[in-house]
Each structure stands twice: as structure tokens, then as C-alpha cells.
Amino acid sequence: MSLRGLKTLLWFLCGAGLTVILLRIIHGPGSVVALTDIIPWGLWKGGGVVALVPIGGAGFTLAAMVYIFHWKRYQVLARGAVLLGLVCYSSVAAGLTFDIGIWWRIVYPLFYWQFHSTLFEIAWCIMLYLGVLAVEFSHAIVEKFNMPRLRSIIEKTSIVFVIAGISLSTLHQSSLGTMFLATPYRLHPLWHTDWLPGFFLLTSIGLGCLTISWLTLVVFRLYKVEQPMDAISGLGRIAAVVLGFYGLLKFVEILIAGEGALLLTLDWNVANFWFEILLSALIPVALLAFPRFRQSATAMFWIASTAIVGMSLNRVNVAGLATLDATSATYFPIWPEWAVTLGILSFAGLVYLFCVERFEVFSAIDEQAVKRVYASEQVDHADWKTLFFRIPHAESRLYSAVFVLAMGLALGCVPDGSVFGEQPQKTPVTGSRVVEVAKVENPQGPGSQFMIGAQALAEHATGHTDVFVIDANRQAEFVLFDHESHIDGLVAQGADCSTCHHMNKPYDKATGCHQCHADMYLETDIFNHDLHQKKLGNNAGCAKCHVDDSLPKVRKNTTACAECHPGMRQNDAVGDPQKRNLAPGYMDAMHGLCIGCHQERKDTLAEKNEDFARCTQCHRDTPGFDSPAWNDLR
């Protein structure tokens, strides 16, 4: 991939990410993530924080090798590794800012101290380490801007910062593991162990060697400079030792914990574990054992890629994927989550490339090398704007256009909930069914009981009747409603259909509830515009309701329903005239209709008692709930 192509892609991802971040700021994180109360941590935590920190571990690993152990062979990569650490940790900080619910409170751990919290310790370590990395990288900046006094101060104190950085990294790399010791009931036993902090620290060292190798290979390739294979193959050897040791310890731990048998069972989690350990340790270690592969740039690129993917999977597993089973919940990040994580990473990548071009990050990539790459990729913009915009702006024109397009496309592609704020979901109501039952005396108390199924009907020869099975949201929680007996009872008390059927469709005598109360929990619009439009003759009919042509065709400027439908009866007691076109949700309507009446009658009717107004009067346990007849209804 060419440098320009890569940068175009990165700018595109940045644009998409920025749109989602802005929406997240406007409407809160819930509007752009697929998280739930049971899975409250997702890609932004697992991928953008827990998996990204060990990738930035290259910074302290290389700092220790070069500045503490004086392994000068890796000097060429030291500054690149520090910069990698800097952009990774900055991305972590940015990702965390948008992940937490109240983003401007990201600084609160500075003021509210809670020493028992692992997260508190991690937050402080990352914060301090970011400062340390900035100081370590400032060498390149003072060099560039030629500030001799500052430079000598920084160089004299540098070893203090290096040591502080290593100690801070030891703490937070391991504490990321400690954090998940708090989830023994969530995390699968193959991952959950008290050794987790140690594993996290160890792998961050092994992975750090490979991430800086990977990055160096890619960057040197992009700028068409010969790759420093001597240092990279050396890092490969160290990574092989560290990751090999990790793999060994991992299996030892599993055996000690007595989970060895688990490894051979056929299970989604176990397959996941094997996949992860193969990618993160076994395959890379096996390949790195061959000097031939360590010395080949292509082989090292693929080995490092495998290890990075595998180790990221390890962190993602611990942070969430391997907990899904225990929670019986599902979660997969939706694309806006990916857009934010990838957008932040892309921005980090652009900053990295910017620094590589402007400062002496890799001594092999100097101004000449950068100029050569750009010269070979120069395009001729035969465009009128070229007259006014000098050629060097060709780059910014391309990237800004891509960025703007990505922002707009992302805004078009996000779900409506992300743009206008999350809305409750619809739960359509289905009409009730009718079933024949035997109505028998209730042995446990007053009232009667319904028996269903062929067997029950045969046993009880008399008292057969049809009842409504009210299960409007199909949750298999039934209310059996005896319509016949309600008619009899209510007519005897001087009521008629309109007592319950308070509003009917134009030619109906008694419209069914679900015809208007169309949603289970939400208020629903009971006016059907399409139907009216078709009935009134399409275009010709508009003027029949939207009479005044000079006003916008909205509800408040439209003829009232009753003017055309004088026969449509409406019980004034029900229905707010202000909201005459909205019907309450089904559940509210049913409860409102039934409970009020029941409560009134429990006192006025002699044969009723306290239970008549209780939930169980309707929501009752009918005998034989598990019988096949009930299952048929479900």
C-alpha cells in the first residue's frame, strides 16, 4: 500500500470516528453502542483500552533494553518504541474518555481518591506514564528545535524517567489483569486465575518486542528504506523466549488449577482458548525458533501480526468475550463502536507518521527519504483550483475531502437513535385468540377455573365456553378472559358495549382493543394516513381533509375526524382530547380498563371479595400449566 493510499484510508476512518464521537457527546454512549446492563463493557474497553495497553508496552520494554541494559543493538528502535507507547497511551486515554458515561469527569480520579480500586491505580499509572513518555519523546522535539539548554537538562535526567516509566508500566500492565480478578463468576475458568496479573505483565513484554518490530517493518516499507533486520531478529528471539515462557506457565497454571480436563472438552470457550493460545503464543514461538524466519522481513511481519491479533484476542477474551457464556447474554460491537475505536487508532497512526516525517524518530528515515517518497507519488492536479492552491496543498485537499465525505457518510449510516437520541423499541400487539374451555368451580376459593385441552373438556361435560387468550406480546403469559360472562354480568348492571369498547372504528359496533392499542407499552398513533389517502382518491383527496391550501399539511391544520365520522362513538371519560389521535400502550390500556372497574366492584358487589381486585384474579395460575394443551397455545 502506498503512503498516500494509507493516509487516505486513515483520514477516512478518522472522519467516520469523529462523527460517532460527536453523536456520542450529544446523546450519550447508549445511543451508539450495543452494550447492555449485563454486558456493560464492550469494544471500547476491551479493544480500545485493555488490548491497546500491551501494544504500547513496546515503550517500556525497549526503554529497559536500551537504556538500562545498554543493549545498543536496539538503539535504532528505541525512539520509535517510545513514540509507539505515546500514541497508544494517548489513544487509550481518548478511548476511555468517550467510553465512560460522563466524559468530562475523566479527570475526577485526580480529585477523588479510592486506593482500593484497581481502576484507580491503573488510571493514575497511565496518567503518570503518559507524562513520562512525553518527556522521553521530548528528546526528539528539543533536537529538532535546537534548544541546547533544555536538551542537556532532559538528557541528564532521562534515566530517572526511564526507570519511573518501567516501574509504572510494571504496575499498570499487571493491574489490568488484577482488575478481572473481581469477576470470578463471569470469567471462564480457563482465563480466570490469580496469575492473571503476572500473565498480563509477561505478555506485554513479549508483545512489546513484536509490536515495535511490526511497526518498524511497516514504516520502513512505507518510506522505502531498508529495514533494520538485525535489531528486529534480535527482538524476535527475545519475544520467542518470553512468549514461550508465558505459554508454558499458562498450561502449568491450568494443570495446577485442575482444569486440564477442560482443555479437551468440546465447547465454544475451549475452542476460543485454543485459538487464542495458538495465535498469541504457540505459533509465533514455533516460527520464531527458526533463525531463517527471524531474519526475513516478510516472515517477521506475519509472525508479529499473528501475535498481535492473538494477544489482542487474549485481552478481549478476558475483558468480555470469555464472559459471555456465564452471563447468557450476547454482545457484538455495532459499527459505530468500531468506527470510534478505529478512528482513534487511525488518528494515532497519522500522528505517528507525522512525527516520523517531522522528527528524527528513526534515523534512517530522514528528510531526504521522505522527500523521495513524496516525489515518486506526486500527482498532477489539472484542476482550476491548482491555479490558486499551491501544489503542496494537493495532499490536504485530498485528505480533507475524504475526511468530510467520511463524516457525512457516517452520519447517514448511523441508526436514527444515534442521531435523534435512543427511542424505546416497538412491541407490536397481536390480537387475542379464542379457545374452548371447561368452566368449573374453583376448589381453592371463590370464582371459577378454566380447564383447557381435549382431555379436560371430556372430563367436564358441562360448562363449556369460549374464552379469549390474551397474550398480546406473545410472552406466553396468558390471561384467560371470559367475554361472555362479562357481557352477562355487565348488562345486568345496566352497562352496554360502550362501557369497555369506548371508541370504535367508523362502522364497528365494538372494535377490538388491539386495533387501536397497537403497541404493548408505547402510545400509538391510531390514524392511518395511507388508508385514508387511498380511500379518498389519492391526489384528488388531499383537499378533503387539508382544506386550507395556504397552511402546511399537518395534523393541527386538518379537519377533525368526527366531522367526517359522526357515528364513531367515543366515551368521553376515556381519551384525552388533546391527544385524541394517540392511544395508550396495550398493557396500560388493559390495566386501566380492568383494574378500575374491578376495584369499584369489589366493594359494591356483595359476592366479590378483596381478591377480586388483585392481580391474581386475571393473572392466575391455571392448573395443568405444563400440559400439552397449554403448549399448543404457546
Partner: protein, 236 residues
């Protein structure tokens, strides 16, 4: 059809409107950057930029009636009317404001439906007239590119379809079909706007400054203009 309509005025509109706003901002920023560069270059070459003259010219051309009116009265009048119509109607139409209010809760005073009707018809007539003028005048044809012919027609389209949708009695097509054309063509305009000559709606305040600075450009600039217009083989 309804689903397409929903999509066109929901996600598609969001995307194209955002691209228009952001694209215009981008054009402005790029213009500012290169203007500063050009001014610095001019200063380095000890050239004086006559800011007072530029400012006066900018103000004069803000309403392009003065000078142009003397030479081509019909054209300049049509053009001004066209611009007034196409700016006023989309922004101040009551139905559009209702949509904004429903979507993001912002509203502003609307013009009456009668006035909107008149202005819409005005936009259609002047737009077509501009197209005819461009076709009929030789000097115009000489400096025209393909997009110069397409734009007046493309801009007339949403006005025509919108007018038909609002007047069902004279609309030979169904309401949905005319709405779909209306929304789709408007979206297409938004989408192309910042990447075409229509970006003058953001760039026009500095046009005079740009052409003033243009005098300091390289000798072969004129040739490049011709190349850009794809008319390099024609006589100037």
C-alpha cells in the same frame, strides 16, 4: 416507494446535508490557507495589494447588477431573481421548517404559502431562462463546461417536483413519486455542491481578492485555465 422516500429524506438527506456543510467549511478553510500563502508571497515580492479597491469591488459585485446591468440587462436581472428565489424558498418554506423542528427542534419564521408558490414558479422560470441564455449566447457557450449547462436544470428539478407535490390538483404523478424526485434531486445538489462551481456560495466574499492576487500568478496561467475548461484547442 414509501421506504425509499423515508430513506431519501432520512439517512440520505443527513449524509448529503452534512457533506454540504462540512464540504463548504473545508473549501473555506482551504481558500483561507492558500490566500494567506499568496498574500505572504506577494509581500515577499514587494507587491502592494490594493485592499481598498478589492473591498470596493467585492461590495459592488455582491449584487451583480451595476456593471453587468449596463451591458446585459436581461441576464443580470434573471440571475439575481434566480438567486433570490432559490435561496429564500428552501430556507423559509413552512413545510421545511416543520421538518427541521420535528428533527432537531429548531424553527424560525416562515414565508406564506402564496409567496412561496410565486417564488418557486420564479425559480423554475428564471432557471430555465438562464439555461436558454447560456445556450443562445455565443460568448457564454465559449466559456461553458458541461456542468454549467447541467446545473440550472438540476436546480430547477426539486422546485418543479416540490411545486407539483404541494399542488395535488394539477399533479399528474402520485404524491410519493413527486416527493421522491424532489428529495433525491435536492440531495444530489447538496452532495455535489461543495465539490463543484456551486461552492461559490461560500467562496464569493473573497472572489475579488483571489482575482486580484491572480495578477501575480505565473505567465502560463491562462493556458491552464483553458486546459481546465477543456478548450485548449480553441481560439481565445
Amino acid at each position: 416507494m414509501e421506504h425509499w422516500l423515508e430513506w431519501a429524506r432520512g439517512p440520505l438527506f443527513r449524509a448529503s446535508f452534512a457533506i454540504m456543510i462540512l464540504g463548504l467549511l473545508r473549501v473555506l478553510v482551504l481558500q483561507a490557507i492558500s490566500l494567506f500563502g499568496l498574500i505572504r508571497q506577494a509581500k515577499r515580492n514587494q507587491r502592494k495589494i490594493p485592499y481598498a479597491v478589492v473591498a470596493k469591488a467585492s461590495l459592488r459585485w455582491l449584487i451583480p447588477v451595476g456593471k453587468l446591468f449596463e451591458r446585459r440587462a436581461v441576464f443580470s436581472l434573471t440571475s439575481v431573481l434566480f438567486h433570490i428565489c432559490i435561496i429564500v424558498v428552501p430556507i423559509l418554506l413552512g413545510a421545511h421548517i416543520l421538518l427541521w423542528e420535528r428533527g432537531i427542534g429548531l424553527s424560525w419564521p416562515a414565508i406564506s404559502m402564496q409567496l412561496a408558490d410565486i417564488l418557486t414558479l420564479g425559480a423554475i422560470v428564471t432557471g430555465l431562462a438562464l439555461f436558454v441564455i447560456r445556450l443562445s449566447v455565443m460568448a457564454n457557450r465559449a466559456i461553458s463546461r458541461a456542468q454549467d449547462y447541467v446545473w440550472p436544470l438540476l436546480i430547477v428539478l426539486p422546485f418543479l417536483s416540490g411545486y407539483l407535490a404541494m399542488h395535488p390538483a394539477i399533479n399528474p404523478f402520485s404524491y410519493e413519486a413527486s416527493m421522491l424526485i424532489h428529495v433525491l434531486s435536492a440531495n444530489l445538489i447538496f452532495l455535489l455542491l461543495p465539490f463543484s462551481k456551486l461552492s461559490h456560495m461560500a467562496l464569493f466574499p473573497a472572489t475579488q481578492l483571489v482575482s486580484e492576487l491572480g495578477w501575480f500568478l505565473k505567465p502560463d496561467s491562462a493556458q491552464k485555465v483553458m486546459t481546465t475548461l477543456h478548450k485548449e484547442n480553441e481560439a481565445i
